[in-house]
């Protein structure tokens, strides 16, 4: 494999005295979909936040596109064409859908705003119907679409998604995964996907990592992990 787009080496992170990440190594290659699965409280979302610099890693290094971003402030990281759809969506509830999307384009200086807005409406036609509605009045699935679309408005090279299927009807979750796969295939968008929905995530991803208690315990190709006995037992059986 050539030099990965994002490389995480021995990263530890703490909330006060509690270690949330205990030395994590993850690589995300250009054009790949990489997923990170694990149970509640394994540290998946913490890793996601640590890549974005909040909380910052205590030890280890995070290198993106040959640049060390371990100590870079969050808003500077966002300017490096990494976009994040954070846990809990975090859309702006009192602002309209279009305003939310425009906020996503802030980092590009609105250079491609009009074209990108049209593109988002093509990818997520539901957002066009709701364009002038408040973000807070959207349904959960629509809010998730909005969060992803807002992240895409910055024309990222690397898109990081935290639990995009959380709290969604299976059909909507499937739609969202289909969109992610489509963007990866047609535009070569690199995706780092944190998920609890292990079955869908591993089916979609090229490679996957399994996290337990702040450590990576397993890694491999997505389909391969799907077949592994320990993964099936822990994350799939009955949970499909």
């Amino acid at each position: 494999m050539t030099e990965p787009l994002l490389s995480i080496r021995g990263v530890t992170a703490y909330y006060g005295a509690i270690a949330a990440l205990k030395g994590v190594d993850v690589d995300v290659g250009e054009g790949e979909i990489v997923t990170l699965i694990g149970a509640n409280g394994a540290g998946k979302s913490t890793l996601m936040m640590t890549i974005f610099g909040a909380p910052q890693a205590r030890d280890g290094a995070i290198v993106y596109d040959g640049q060390d971003i371990t100590r870079t402030p969050t808003h500077k990281i966002a300017q490096l064409k990494i976009a994040q759809s954070p846990e809990g969506r975090r859309i702006f509830p009192r602002m309209s859908v279009v305003e939310n999307l425009k906020m996503g384009a802030a980092v590009t200086g609105y250079a491609h705003y009009d074209a990108d807005l049209q593109r988002m409406f093509e990818i997520f036609p539901r957002l066009k119907e709701r364009a002038n509605q408040r973000g807070g009045t959207l349904s959960g699935g629509e809010q998730q679409m909005l969060a992803i679309a807002r992240a895409l408005m910055s024309r990222p090279r690397l898109l990081m998604l935290d639990e995009p299927s959380l709290g969604l009807a299976p059909l909507i979750a499937k739609q969202i995964f289909a969109v992610i796969a489509e963007l990866n295939r047609t535009e070569g968008l690199t995706v780092f996907l944190v998920e609890q929905n292990a079955y869908h995530a591993l089916k979609l991803a090229h490679r996957g990592y399994v996290m337990v208690n702040g450590r990576i315990t397993l890694s491999g190709a997505g389909r391969e992990l799907l077949e592994r006995e320990e993964v099936r037992a822990a994350y799939l059986e009955g949970g499909r």
Binding site: F52, A54, T74, H75, K76, A78, Q79, Q84, P86, R90, I91, F92, P93, R94, M95, S96, V98, E99, K102, M103, G104, A106, V107, Y110, K128, A131, N132, Q133, R134, G136, T137, R150, S154
Partner: protein
Amino acid sequence: MPDAHAGAAAPSVFAVAFKDAALAALVALGLAAPMLGLVTVQTQSGIELEQHWGRVAIAVAIVFAGRLLLNLTLWRPGRKKSLGYVPPKVEARLARFAKYLAPLAILGAVVMPMLPFTERYAIDLGILVLTYVMLGWGLNIVVGLAGLLDLGYVAFYAVGAYSYALLAQYFGLSFWVCLPLAGILAAFWGVILGFPVLRLRGDYLAIVTLAFGEIIRIVLLNWYWFTGGPNGISGIPRPSFFGLDFDRGDDGFAATFGLDYSPLHRIVFLYYLILALALITNFVTIRLRRLPIGRAWEALREDEIACRSLGINTVNTKLTAFALGAMFAGFAGSFFATRQGFISPESFVFMESALILAIVVLGGMGSQFGVAVAAVVMIGGFELFREFSDYRMITFGLVMVLIMIWRPRGLVSTRSPSVFLKEKKAISGSLVQEGHG
């Protein structure tokens, strides 16, 4: 037992109402007995307790009867409650009407001093109201748009007022030179305050800004040789009209324009001055809302973490909000100084901050028109109640409680988006669940 209520005989409505009223009366007795019943009186031998049990009885009786009446009428169980206090249809119609209301209000404000029946008192009151409209609009940037709860806003008002007063006193600078300087100095202090509180939000931010407001006031009070302390600064020069003073002299305003001298000229001039300053504040705010920085403020109010992960520098965004809000307070402060001709720390107490904040909250955070209406109602209302100044604060509190019950998001709770797709559409505040919007 599956259902305890079904088994027992349902108590009559009257019994329940009576019991509830009796409980309320008991609470009233507990409160009234020490507060109304016992009065300390100064006598020659010291302090004596005077007893007024009649008053207590009256208070308890009123509470009991009132509660009983309400329980049997308005609060009667099973009484159908009206859905929402303002139907959406009416609200939509009001919103459409509001579009014409704002220009009409501005027109009214411009014409008011020229009307034949307008007296000096009305213009004076207009100046006072407009000062608070301007302060409300300035604070609206910080609280309404950026969502930073600032309880020490009056500090910047004080900085503006003292900047002008001191610059005029020590360097003899004129109002027109000092106006921008006062704004810049206040903005500078806004940034000074902004830096240490960058990490704070909500209640914590409110406490620190409250303390900041007090620090400024106490420094002004105790820095005797520089600020005059509690004596304040008097003889602050009045503003001139492009270099023409409003006096009886041959080169005064009246003589130059061939008018008979009248002290009213200056009052009218001050009125238009504060009107212009307020409208500038409004115009700047409306423009900024449509620019990236304004949108960033609003996004910051909604979700700071999301903002940062979208590449917004939240430090700069907060500091600009503080600085701009403070700048307008500085302008208003130097206007206040030149209008009064005398300032002292007494004018910049916490009550002022609370009043300005109340104007913003009652008007509807982020709504320019609502803030203006709230300022007129509050300050105008204060003037109306001047006769009964003892009851002023009670009425003030009552109005606040009522508005918060009926319009929990303030008088004007609609927020019109700054970016549209095709047609413009205001979104009603009532469409979003309380606490989630």
